[in-house]
């Protein structure tokens, strides 16, 4: 038995060192970029984060006051969009994974979903405007924007739910059926719970997108200024994402309102991150209890 390393081994070890070094650098780059962006926004946005900022409406040509209307608008938009997309998405995914029979139709449908998951947000915005506003005649409103946003996140939810369902071992289903439990009951009590963590991943991603995407709401409901909180799903609304965009490009006092812009960006990030944290917490909760697919 040789005790030293062969030349081959030594060479492989050297390669390993280089490869691992590159990996560490890459990861460090990613972390640094994250810190740079978050840091910049936190430092420049924190001064704007006062109670007034969060609880007041914009005043005096948007140079003063707060972003309450944007905050509420974004939250309502996200909730409505999710309530459209999540039920539909789960149903479609369950259908595709558990019920649909293998074949060309199923493959075509899965392809369509995959394609739409990658479709640019502006295409959804264009469609939303053309279909809901111009064709059907809905007003530019919270409802129209939520529908459009719902369409945007629907394919992602279907895909991730499908992946989650697929990664539930077939043995779970077989064991359940062998016990005499019917298909639907199996899905409801065995498969779905096992897929929760994966499904939550999809929902996490979707929350972030719904809160942050601007293109789908550009012409379906978001406005520069609306003096009240949206009191009906048919009213126009302000949203954090759109607000940041217009404040940074359309206002008359862009330099003056830079603080507000940074503040808006910060609030948007905090909102998205806290939603993510909640979802991550839920996911960990399910994984710990042993009902994770991994």
């Amino acid at each position: 038995m040789k005790t030293g390393k062969t030349a081959y081994r030594k060479k492989q070890d050297a390669y390993q060192k280089i490869a691992f070094g590159l990996m560490k650098i890459s990861t460090a780059v990613v972390v640094m970029v994250l810190l740079l962006i978050i840091g910049d926004i936190v430092i420049k946005g924190a001064p704007s984060l006062t109670i007034e900022f969060l609880t007041q409406m914009p005043k005096n040509q948007m140079t003063e006051g707060g972003i309450l209307s944007c905050l509420v608008g974004t939250i309502e938009l996200v909730i409505l969009a999710l309530s459209v997309a999540v039920p539909l998405g789960i149903v479609a995914a369950v259908y595709l994974t558990e019920y649909a029979s293998e074949g060309k139709v199923k493959r075509f449908v899965e392809q369509a979903v995959n394609n739409l998951a990658g479709t640019p947000s502006i295409v959804f915005g264009l469609f939303g405007m053309a279909f809901f506003v111009k064709y059907i005649g809905l007003p530019q409103s919270l409802l129209t924007s939520s529908l459009t946003m719902g369409l945007l996140i629907l394919p992602v939810i279907i895909r991730t739910t499908q992946e989650a369902l697929l990664s539930v071992p077939q043995s779970y289903r077989d064991a359940s059926m062998a016990l005499g439990i019917t298909k639907w009951e199996t899905i409801r009590h065995v498969v779905l719970p096992a897929a929760y963590s994966g499904m939550l991943t999809g929902i996490i991603i979707s929350i972030g997108r719904a809160a942050g995407e601007t293109a789908p709401i550009l012409l379906t409901g978001a406005v520069y200024f609306y003096p009240k909180l949206p009191d009906s799903v048919f009213s126009p609304f302000m949203a954090l994402s759109y607000h940041l965009y217009v404040m940074a490009t359309e206002g008359m006092n862009i330099e003056l309102t830079r603080g507000i812009q940074y503040g808006t960006a910060l609030v948007l990030i905090i909102l998205v991150f806290s939603m993510n944290l909640i979802a991550v917490g839920l996911r960990r909760h399910y994984r710990k209890k042993g009902i994770g697919s991994n």
Binding site: Q12, D13, Q16, A19, F20, S26, T27, V30, V31, V33, I37, I38, D40, I41, L88, V91, A92, Y95, E98, Y99, V109, A112, V113, N114, N115, L116, A117, G118, T119, P120, S121, I122, V123, G125, L126, A130, L151, L154, P155, S167, T182, K183, W184, I204, I205, G212, E213, T214, A215, L218, S241, L244, A248, A265, L268, I269, V272, F273, N276, V280
Partner: protein, 296 residues
Amino acid sequence: MKRNMRNFNEKTMKFLFFIGGIGTILILLLICFFLLAETANFLKTYPIWDFLTGTEWKPDEASRKFGLLPLLAGTFITTFGAVLLAVPIGILSAVYIAELAGPKTAEILKPAVELLAGIPSVVLGFFGLVLLVPTFQSAFDLTTGQTALTGSIILAIMALPTIISVSEDAISSVPASLKQGSFALGSNHWQTIYKVTIPAALSGISAAVILGVGRAIGETMAVMMVTGNMAIIPWSEPFLSSVRTITATIALEMGEVAQGTEHYYALFTIGAVLFLLTIIINGIADAVKRKHHRGE
């Protein structure tokens, strides 16, 4: 009695799922239909050859030029740059997190990546506008800091988290038995990674890269804010020149088009082109997955 009840439930649920599934798909297909229908309308009045080879996009009434090439160039250049940056960094980081990082480090890194993913595109566009654009302009002494490169960097930042987390998922799903087998045969960790783990996770990694590319191609707000929106084909210095993407064009112009005008249809047509690009990319991803499975 109970058995009949269960059967009934069973059949009902199956039916409901069928309706829901098909219905959802139909809604999504409606989008495709719209794109195609309006494209057909556009091509009724505008020669397809002029569209595909046109080098000018000037939608104003005097010119009415709807050439795809400058927009395609803009989309292509920014996406290409983003991929060059994001894919190597992304995959290497994913491998690190999945294979090298200790459990505590991974506990920090994975949420960190998700954090990066959570940054909305408009925030990144904003960041690019206030920080990168002025910096680039002075650093490279350019005509303007709004360039394809600026766009590529922002797009890369957007694509990275997708590439990393989906790849990481795929890599950590590789069964331990495969890896252990490799070690048993005498490979060291790196050899195992590139000979066994990565190939086993290849379909997932490809999917990750494809999703990342898709995000880059489809991004609107960020590129609208930092690329200068110049509808030209930048033959010299493609990365340091301003460009305009298909997505930005749609966003900039979709508000003002009256239903039924040539400009209106033109926007749908470039939207359809964008959609087609997405389909092609997904098709490539699929082919990779299938080839990989056959190889096993």
